[in-house]
Symmetry: C2
Subunit: 457 residues, 2 copies
């Protein structure tokens, strides 16, 4: 009898785990359970359809259920798994049992719900399922004022896009700046500017105390007064959706995510987990983190699939390149910025510089601000943040890769770069930042009275 693989979840990790396992070992019988009607669409695109940047929700679909079936997967749509029995090797869904030889838990995340009165009112919206998003988009045509609660990455994207749509957006967060847990304040400033240019009213340093209304929300009560709203979009933290796994006896770590090893294996033989439901080690600190991107989820799913199919595969600690568009402004980074480094007590030397994305005189050239953090002494790259326009994503990917492999500011200061006016300037912004830091450090060595821009270890 062929080996039975059950995958719970149809997001990035689940689709990767199931399709890759089947491709690597066609003899596997792979069954995918998902509570939703659809699979293989891009939830990350939803804010941009609301904003009108992408014309139609239908554009977000990458594939169809039929396609997965044609590829030999047993697809159980709209089917909630209600129990995992690890001892007997079976799951329960719709009151029926399904046995497995290997299991992959990809139950993803749920949005944190505000712990204040009125959190169950109608008109509080969470961005996740595409069909709900389609309904919500029609609702948006009928409203005028929107409160976006939580300056998370999704919050920033929703606020910017709804501002672009012409809605009256209040963007509410307790922090002093957006993305306060990871973003450095200097990088947040242009984000604030761009959001305000899109008509977004920033209500930072503002604590949500309640949602007000009879059946339907009509305002948010905050530490800074009432903010009227026709709808409120909740963009707080992504919580690992571990209920099912914990009920089955699997362990969660300090972040609330399931604990897996570098092969995506839980403590139980034949039971894997991947994606937003797990925690993985950070490459710099080796501390567990979670809540990464769809591309991380996909790679973790592939890792589980490889090991299930008998191809030994290890998932490395992550250096987390990240980036997003806030208003019209692109921000990104990798590993840690100053905010996180300071919070974690990680000493660093700072390298900062401003370059341009094309020759300065070429139309479309945008300033590219680079900030790198390096280990004092060795000057090994440990993190950074970049903001500007084009090229932020590619540079952050590059730097995450370079940091993982031990590159230093010295390496980056002398990196080769393409100089061609329409696509690249004489001086690469990354190299400028690294060179500035080396010059400062050299000056500090020569003239000890003048401190360089280094934060003492």
């Amino acid at each position: 009898m062929s080996e039975r693989v059950v995958v719970i979840g149809g997001g990035g990790a689940g689709t990767a785990a199931s399709t890759v396992a089947k491709r690597l070992k066609p003899s596997l019988r792979v069954t995918v359970f998902t509570e939703f009607e659809d699979i293989a669409y891009s939830p990350c695109g939803i804010p941009f359809v609301h904003g009108g940047e992408i014309p139609r929700f239908e554009d977000l679909f990458l594939s169809t259920v039929d396609r997965y079936v044609a590829d030999g997967l047993d697809m159980r749509m709209e089917t909630v798994v209600t129990d995992i029995d690890l001892d007997r090797g079976l799951i329960t869904a719709r009151n029926e049992h399904e046995g497995f030889d290997q299991l992959v838990i990809c139950t993803g995340f749920t949005w944190e719900k505000p712990d204040v009165p009125g959190a169950n009112l109608e008109g509080l919206h969470y961005v996740k399922n595409i069909r709900r998003a389609m309904e919500f988009d029609r609702l948006l045509d009928t409203v005028r004022t929107v409160a976006v609660i939580g300056a998370s990455p999704l919050g920033v994207e929703m606020a910017g896009n709804l501002g672009r749509r012409g809605l009256d957006v209040s963007f509410v967060d307790e922090g002093s700046w957006v993305l306060g847990e990871v973003l450095d304040p200097d990088v947040a400033q242009p984000v604030h500017d761009s959001l305000q240019e899109h008509g977004v009213t920033l209500r930072l340093g503002t604590r949500v105390e309640a949602f007000l209304g009879d059946d339907h929300v009509r305002a948010v009560a905050t530490s800074d007064g009432e903010i009227p709203c026709d709808v409120a979009i909740i963009c707080l933290r992504k919580m690992a959706n571990t209920a099912l796994a914990q009920a089955a006896g699997l362990e969660v770590g300090t972040t609330g995510g399931l604990i897996v090893d570098e092969r995506m294996r839980t403590k139980v033989d034949g039971v894997y987990a991947a994606g937003d439901v797990i925690e993985v080690p950070h490459g710099l600190t080796m501390l567990p983190i979670r809540g990464l991107t769809g591309s991380h989820a996909y790679a973790q799913g592939r890792t589980a699939a490889a090991n299930i199919a008998g191809v030994d595969r290890v998932y490395d600690p992550v250096w987390i390149p990240w980036g997003l568009v806030a208003g019209d402004y692109v921000i990104g980074g990798f590993s840690v910025g100053e905010t996180l480094a300071a919070a974690m007590g990680i000493p660093y030397v700072l390298a900062t510089g401003v370059g341009v994305s094309r020759a300065r005189y070429y139309p479309g050239a945008r300033k590219t601000h680079v900030k790198l953090l390096a280990e004092p002494g060795s000057l090994r790259l440990i993190g950074g943040q970049i903001h500007g326009g084009e090229g932020v994503k590619e540079r952050c990917d590059f730097l995450a890769f370079a940091a993982k492999r031990g590159a230093t500011l010295e390496d980056l200061a002398w990196m080769e770069n393409i100089y061609s006016p329409p696509i690249g300037a004489l001086f690469e912004p990354i190299a400028i930042a690294a060179q500035n830091a080396l010059a400062d450090l050299a000056a500090a060595t020569r003239e000890p009275a003048q401190p360089a821009r280094a934060v003492p270890a």
Copy 2:
């Protein structure tokens, strides 16, 4: 008495050598000789002013002579150095001697002149000096047909830009495709398409036999018949401008460039050279190459300056990320492509893939074609070419850096990448190419009858 540094040449290498030396060691007396009226402008921008992409030639100036003087440099404009006396440590210019303790030769390149009858006719134009370019631009307003001779990088840029300007452009080259010495034919194809869309007539596989006319060129005689033209723009090879240095007894290498060591030192104590006049080792083959970019010239000038100022600095072998816009299409690469690898007998495994620059459904997303070459067995990256739209430059910079540090296809297949619909797709194009190759290799291992896409070593 302060140490005297003489720099011959005011291009990228010369300005870097002089300004950086003075900055690192202010006690130096630094004198710069240039035959031209101007300094610190971007010659690489000239084609794009001709094409109307950049409004004015004045935009190309980055600094002024006065600024260099204010920084303490002794600027000798429009002053041709006619002799170097290495024994006595002096140069001759305008029949006067100037002593030096250290010398930096940054005499750059001259364009190869066609070795055919009529090469001295009027109407043959070489793109180099900005004042000549300004005159030529006014002339272009009065002409209709242009022959661009030589499908070099400059030739491609000139043909595309003059086509965009609405001129009737014949683009003549002996090779079967543009940039035939370095570009792979599959990457050339979209370049051909884009140039033709800009109204450029490709005359490839066509040898120039003479320039015809009485005083002024009226046609190019070729192996494929006469091509009428009002002007001809010569875009052949960049030849190292070594006449002065060779007359002084300095040696040139196999490429025709001056020989220097990794500190930019010639064989003569205190005599350095940098920029387009020298040859440097290729990181993969360690064979000397020359004719790199302005950013390479600048870095070499900085290297010479550091060593002159007493800061020990080594210039590493180069991995040469390169890129340019051809018509509307962006191409690039690093190290070697298939054409060069085949010509040099370098065995390689091929990794190819096509991704997108943003989420597939996001407006502005462009296909990104990636081809990587890796060493058989180790799968260490040895070269590649990328084409498409946005992100080509940043990816080629990244890959040159990664190849220099020994990254493998395995590393790239599992690189982390930013997934955010407006700036990056779920799957990074580089990772797609690497994954494809690994899948092919794995299939070949499992089923030896089916060859993978590997070129046997």
